[in-house]
Symmetry: C2
Subunit: 206 residues, 2 copies
DNA sequence: TTTGATTTTCAGATTTCATTGAAAACCGCT
DNA sequence: AGCGGTTTTCAATGAAATCTGAAAATCAAA
């Protein structure tokens, strides 16, 4: 709230405002990253590349974010693996430049995809293993073992369904989150109640 | 794969298998918790209460998980706030017992709800603020400022749509994730690939 | 109200995770 | 091949989150 809202008097001021707005976006996205179990720097690098839209090299990123070379290198590698940024080469320049995926939905799909891979898939694998650990024994009265299996199955079904859907809509060749969102927004749901005001304005009102 | 698959010879063995299976579930759920930015213990307490289905008191939880009293107290409080466990009182017993929500979908809804609250809502608030920080100036040629706003708006629209849907389907009175999942599963998507029945290994081939 | 079992709190200890920085590896160019 | 400039790696460091344990607060029962 320092110099907010005021129209810029000159080019220098306008530039300062732009940079501050960018920095704030970077900070917010970085904070999100922490909550997500993504390193803050990795999220910040992504935010920087996304919000400026420009290809940047390692040194520019280091300078702008004030982090070490090694940290940038590792963050950039992860982002490449996630598929949310790509390398760009300038002819006659040995540096590597990086540019963010500019389509938001494609970016969100990539993020969702990666999170499912890291969070859900390992759990499902574990559930399969665990199920085999305490076998149901026919005819024997083992209420507790039956309960265990019931609960394991329910969890697995739940997450299994979620994963299937995720792959269907968020996979690399999936129909797209946007499609899914539109389908759902149109879907018939009993109540219609607008969600608790919370924020001023929002574009999401389907 | 230590002693897996073998049918138990006697009651004691069966019990040991049951406990080991439970422990493994608890460990898996706990690991998930870390990835989610939830404390491992909190996730473990929840897993324990869910998988056993039984109301347990602080001392039982401490003993089973091998964690401190304070830690259990704090974890239990968070779980109560999340609405995934509830207090149970036994008449003539001063201890408090805790029991997990047994309906998986209701549980998943609660988790989704809480995560959106912690992860998405703050970002949307920040985006609104940032937008006001570098005002568009009519008539002036400020390509970069325009770009900034375009990108901010796109992100906000994306997350806004997701949030709206989340509230609609995962909210306390929402239609339910299960409903959403069913709608989507049925939805017409160009390619169609039956989701592997038993989920043999991985579903990673969207 | 008193009692004692039970829960909560929180400063400090511990553990976990992110980051640095410098050495090593790499790579395009001549 | 040899020479920088550039990137990658990783042990050491630093920062942050988590956990403990014991003191303080709470509360049902007598």
């Amino acid at each position: 709230m320092t110099s907010a809202g005021k129209p810029p008097r000159n080019a220098a001021q306008a530039r300062a405002q732009l940079l501050e707005a960018q920095d704030r976006f970077i900070a917010s996205w970085g904070r999100m990253g922490s909550v997500w179990g993504i390193s803050r720097t990795m999220a910040e690098v992504h935010a920087l590349l996304y919000i400026t839209g420009q290809p940047m090299c390692t040194d520019e990123i280091m300078e702008r974010l004030g982090v070490s070379r090694g940290n940038v290198s590792m963050s950039v590698r992860s982002l490449l693996e996630w598929g949310v940024i790509e390398k760009v080469r300038h002819p006659g320049d040995r540096k590597e430049y990086f540019q963010a995926e500019q389509d938001v939905w494609s970016m969100l799909r990539a993020i969702a995809r990666e999170r499912i891979k890291r969070e859900v898939d390992p759990l499902l694998d574990a559930l399969d293993e665990i199920g085999e650990l305490a076998p149901r024994v026919a005819g024997q009265s083992q209420e507790e073992v039956d309960d265990l299996h019931t609960r394991l199955d329910e969890i697995r079904d739940g997450f299994g369904l979620i994963t299937t859907l995720a792959h269907k809509f968020a996979g690399p060749r999936g129909a797209g989150l946007q499609t899914a969102a539109k389908l759902l927004a149109r879907a018939p749901v009993g109540r219609k109640k607008s969600h608790a005001s919370g924020r001023a304005k929002k574009a999401g009102d389907a």
